[in-house]
Amino acid sequence: MLTLEDYGTIFLLVSFLGALLISSPALAFILPPRTGEQFSELYVLGPNRMAEDYPFNVKENETYRLYLGVGNHMKSSAYYLIYVKLRDRTEALPNITAGTPSPLPALHQYRFFLEDGKVWERPINFSLQGLSFHNGICYLRGLIFDGREIPANKQITSDSEINGYPMELFFELWIYDPESHSFTFHKRFVGIWLNMTIQD
């Protein structure tokens, strides 16, 4: 059987828990909020807005469609910048571990603001311009990105494994840092391989 002192302890405990419960709205203002993991997602979808049917064997003057998307899970609004870059197998990709972007020049860029928990997605139409092949090298003069002509001036060497001229179209995600008042590489990139082929 419980003694009077045991009952006293139970009463004290219940009083303390009740007081804590009643003061929880005020405590919510004082205690720091739980932030959780902060991250951004970057993705590329095929022409049917699915992760399939990505263009691979590409020809000059044909339009290809992709969907590019960014999801904000940074627990606050963010200012994003996406650089569109092009590389062949020998050129450098961004280094996620070191946090350094690819040294290649950006062909195109997208800038936008996004609230926390929201997704930015837009269709991207692109076509290749001035594609020529000489002595095992493919020359690409430029691209048309969303109706805008962009010079590329790339040389792509042939790859015997796939018997073609592979080139990676990739997207680097950058984020505005209010501390440094500038954009910093957000350690995210995504790309698709394209194989330059001759017009029939």
Binding site: F11, S76, E115, Y176
Partner: protein, 173 residues
Amino acid sequence: MIENLHLHRKRILRCILLIFLLCLSNLVWVSPSRCGFADFLQDSESSINLAFEKVLEAERAGANVTALVARLNEAVDLLVKANLLERNGKYDEAAEAASAAAKIAREVEDQALKLKDSAISNREFAFKISIAGSAVGISAFLFFMSRLWHRFKKYYVERILACKPEVAEDADT
């Protein structure tokens, strides 16, 4: 004949020199405006960045910034447009787009400051209310618990006293 040839060469040289000077003057005349325009675009971009920083501050203070984020997207679209127009040599249109972007950015900055102030004062008011509510609530609850405890203690003691002591038959063993 030779004199004519010399004269002809001199004329060609003069023409080349004239063209060179024209190009140079054009270069000298165009460069500052382009430089100035680059600064102008840079200023618009800085205004947008600053406006975003203010929006972030307002958001952290608890304000709803959905409308401001939408306005900032308008501004950044105009800035991108201004950059493209500048590259195509359409300076007047580019300047128009860039100044419109900067104007939106300034408006957003002002609104963000107001929203931040209003969010801070709302938050302070809510905090005071919750503190007062908690104080009243806790006092009432503790008073109720102390009353309950006294009643329980009284009931417990009465129950103990009401118990009759009984002597066991084999108490000595």
